[in-house]
Symmetry: C2
Subunit: 252 residues, 2 copies
């Protein structure tokens, strides 16, 4: 799918991208991630083009996904839908550009608990990086309830001992400040390189939901994953039980 989208961007194949966006919405996506892909030679032009053509077919929120602040800014300027900036790290050079932009454009902001020093190795490092991002948001007057902290999900086959720390971080992000920041994960990372990706994805997602996860970047076309998520929300009393709760959720 990624390779196809990359080709469609390069060839300015609008309908292929719009079709993909509509499929994800039909499957239940609450927001769409907009990413120019690693092969993009001119992301500063690709990002606003993507934003514009996706906005032609939906008014769902868009997550502008780039590691380059200037690419995100190009997307912000082109957008009229609600927005999520995906993402800042805990590094000052990112925070000091992206947090003011998030405030100016009234967007939500994803904050990755990672810095130029590297990937966090345990829960304490995640909470420390989270506190850095929360403090910077407060300084810039950005509303903390619009901040989504990402604990950096690592593949279970390389960082098995950190999975519990990641889950506990999701829980403890809530007590960093009042009002609480929210939490998000990039789900598919947990199963990277494993042989039963969907099973591991949905098992981790159910655990993260029980730990208080607020949002996830995931594949809404994975029916078993979405069934598991809906059932988790049911058990956590986030939607009212009815016999046909799976269908009821999807109709919402």
């Amino acid at each position: 799918m990624y390779a196809e989208i990359g080709k469609a961007i390069k060839e300015r194949n609008k309908s292929a991208i719009q079709k993909c966006a509509l499929e994800q919405i039909k499957a239940g996506a609450d927001a769409l991630d907009i990413n120019c892909g690693p092969a993009s030679k001119k992301p500063i032009e690709d990002m606003p083009w993507l934003v514009e053509i996706v906005q032609e077919v939906t008014d769902k929120p868009l997550a502008l996904d780039s590691s380059k602040p200037q690419v995100i800014e190009a997307g912000l300027k082109a957008a009229k839908n609600k927005l999520i900036i995906n993402s800042t790290t805990a590094d000052p050079e990112k925070i000091d550009i992206l947090v003011p932009l998030a405030k100016q454009y009234n967007t939500k902001l994803i904050g990755l608990t990672i810095s130029a020093k590297g990937i966090p190795q345990n829960k304490d490092q995640r909470l420390e990086l989270a506190a850095t991002i929360v403090a910077a948001c407060s300084e810039h007057g950005f509303p903390i309830e619009n901040l989504y902290l990402d604990p950096i999900v690592l593949p279970v086959n390389v960082a098995q001992a950190q999975m519990k720390d990641i889950l506990d971080s999701i829980n403890e992000f809530k007590i960093i400040s009042e009002p609480s920041p929210k939490s998000i994960v990039g789900l598919s990372n947990v199963s990277q390189g494993t042989s039963v990706r969907s099973l591991i994805n949905r098992t981790f997602l159910v655990m993260a939901a029980a730990s208080g996860l607020d949002a996830a970047i995931l594949d809404p076309l994975d029916k078993e994953l979405v069934d598991a998520l809906i059932s988790a929300e049911l058990i956590l009393n986030k939607q009212i039980y009815c016999d046909s709760y799976l269908e009821a959720y999807r109709k919402k």
Copy 2:
């Protein structure tokens, strides 16, 4: 299946029951629940007969499952395998018979956080009943690490608001005493009366595992349930990752 077993008990159809026991073991059961069923007219004779014929085909631990202490005692006398008493409540008339029996026969003991006053309505009531059982075990010199506390899992369609309390109880049982008591659930209750039983069972089980659950009474023939449990244990670092971890677990 229950009706068939009831019939087999009544007709003393040994091979039907032994076949069922072997199927559960093949599917990965660590222990077998021995219950005479609601239709049994003479459980004091049925229980030791069941124990004896199941012991002919396996040396797996047996959980003697009855609400009547004298039926459990009849099973204890007939047994040579390792045993679990299933179960005492928090009522003195149960505790004062079953805890000394559990100590005398060196069995594990399941303690339900329920009493003659009724089903617990929240986490605090569960913890209070759990503390009563733990205190009684201590008084009788029964080793707390052999006690499995059951938070009483209620159906999600009638007690949706209690699900989080049940999960939190599992977590908090651990801090009632040192050494910690263990935890167990009768899983299938969570989905009683719902239309997607297996999905709700496995979603709840994954959450309970993340809350520190030590054991569950469940259907080992439900492959998706067992896959979810194995994956939960993988994520919780309770077994080492390998690409074929599902097969590796089942071969153990």
